[in-house]
Amino acid sequence: MGRDRSPLLAPPRVGPLQALPWLLIAAAYFAFPSYLSFGSGILIMALFALSLDLALGYAGILTLGHAVFYGTGAYAAGLIALAGWREPITGVLMSGGLSAILAVIVGILVLHLRGLPQIMTTLALGVIFYEVANKLTSVTGGDDGLQGIRLDPVFGVFDWTVYGHTAYLYTAAWLLLMFLVAWRLTGSPFGLALQGIRINPLRMQMIGAPIAHRLMKVFVISGFMAGVAGALSAQTTKFVGLEVYSLNLSAAVLVMLVLGGLGRLYGAFVGTAVYMIVHHIAAIADPYNWMFVIGVLLIGVVLLARGGLLGVADRALRFVRRWP
């Protein structure tokens, strides 16, 4: 291999900038010991946004119903734990697997669509899942949600503490694992083919790329990751509510991803952190304040700052480097 690989295929180099997010995640563990449960929430949403980045940022699948996979993973993890299977890691894997199976079914329905019909169908599917969960109170607990989730210690050693030390490190480990998968994937020929499909599906078809199967594969992987994110939220908060299926969540994760920057993996991290911290600070004063801030940010990203915050950072860096 080695020599005849295209430079496009090389995975992004590991530099100091690549390590920065992980150093920050580690630093936050020591710097903000009283905010660890909030921190786990950010990590979980970052994983969710990462899963959306694979489907939307790389493959160009326009989905406004990604919460379907997150919610299914969350309810699955909650129900598995309530049924008596308290081992957390296998619980996450089973929940993610269920979301992946669901992704096959949803994929059959939406992957052949493009543009507006794809947006509408994923949106309608999201509404259906929300309504079903709302009505199936015997399974989902309806408005009350799933409560009283209890889990065994991670690896049988690390017990779940009130301050969320275990939860934070456990979520961070899952995020790292899933990130490595996504990183490897996007640097591979498969990842390149996905970008080709997003940019020009017709041309990809002409050169013989199996578009439908490539899209299905990435959609299933994305569904699995979203399911893992949902499962982690159920396990760390010990609660699953109806909002895991809501249109608001699907829209919010899209906003987070775009805010950070589409199709660059770390955009999911930056966008989620900014969104959730702004939300946290602004919502203290008035729950509606943050909507104004996020709305203005979103309009600004589309009109002025293409590529999100990381896109702006990129351009700023290039500008500084050209300066003598």
């Binding site: 939307l56 052949h112 009505k135 899209l254 509606y288 709305g295 009109l303």
Partner: protein, 287 residues
């Protein structure tokens, strides 16, 4: 009042409110091809303006509705000029994102201006009263909505299919460059069309403030409903939009009456089946 008549009156009036709002979306999303997630915001603005005028300054209902409609159309002009024009040529994703941003800002704005609670839904006395039509008594409010909606269907069909404006708009949508080349001022045309679409949303929001109660989250709450009506009706088709909106109104009212437990789920399930039927040819790749 027999069950059938009840469902007919409530379903039709609900469907007409849906139609008036959705047909505005059929103009912006259907004809102008901009994925306008903020359409519900314009409906909410119209509704809030009308209710505020009626409760604060006791403006009579018809005047309040007309002023609210014109007001919403007027507000939409600068929004179109500064925010929508840059995204006309952009991809669907950019359009979704910008208009969702607009929804967020409008929810915050409505909350700031009118408070977080539901706006009052009480009607003037003459609308609260009922009229006997044959054996059944129909509330004047419902009757008024049905009549206004029916008139609008006729008027809009005339405007789009029989006037110069309609022909120009359809030409500009089909071949923007060609329309500009034969001397149509496309930019002004799009601004007028957008104001028309938003004004219709405002009219629907104002007329239907009891059918779809006003609250700051209104723009998000009913968004899926408007979008589904328009996208299933086929983009930009006025008569199909009317048929679809009335069908949704009737089905939803009937389902809520006979199967209150099923809720919105059954409606969306039916709609999604229709959607897949329309695109059934595309499934061939899977088998």
């Amino acid at each position: 009042m027999s069950v059938a008549a009840f469902i007919l009156v409530y379903g039709l009036s609900y469907g007409m409110v849906l139609f008036i709002i959705s047909v505005g979306l059929a103009v912006t999303l259907g004809l102008m091809r901009v994925v306008n997630m903020a359409h519900g915001s314009f409906a909410a603005v119209g509704g809030y303006l009308a209710v505020a005028m009626m409760t604060q300054w006791s403006v009579p209902f018809p005047v309040a509705v007309i002023v609210a409609t014109l007001g919403t159309a007027l507000i939409s002009v600068p929004i179109e000029r500064f925010l929508y024009v840059p995204i006309y040529e952009a991809g669907e994703l950019d359009q979704v994102l910008l208009t969702i941003g607009l929804v967020f800002v409008s929810i915050a704005g409505l909350n700031l201006a009118f408070g977080p609670n539901q706006a009052p839904t009480s009607l003037p006395r003459w609308l609260e009263a009922s009229t006997d039509i044959g054996p059944i008594a129909v509330q004047n409010y419902r009757l008024m909505i049905i009549v206004v909606g029916a008139l609008l269907i006729a008027a809009l069909w005339l405007v789009f299919d029989r006037t110069d404006f309609g022909a120009r708009l359809r030409a500009a949508v089909e071949r923007r460059g060609m329309a500009a080349a034969v001397g149509i001022n496309v930019n002004r045309l799009f601004t007028i069309a957008f104001a028309l679409g938003s004004g219709l949303a405002g009219l629907g929001g104002a007329l239907g403030y009891q059918v779809l109660p006003l609250e700051p989250t209104y723009p998000f709450k009913y968004l899926a409903l408007f979008l589904v009506v328009v996208s299933i009706a086929g983009l930009g088709n006025i008569r199909a939009t009317a048929a679809m909106a009335l069908l949704v109104g009737l089905i939803d009212t009937a389902l809520r009456y006979f199967f209150p437990a099923a809720g919105a789920f059954a409606l969306f399930a039916i709609l999604i089946v229709i959607q897949f039927w329309r695109y059934r040819a595309a499934f061939r790749i899977w088998y």
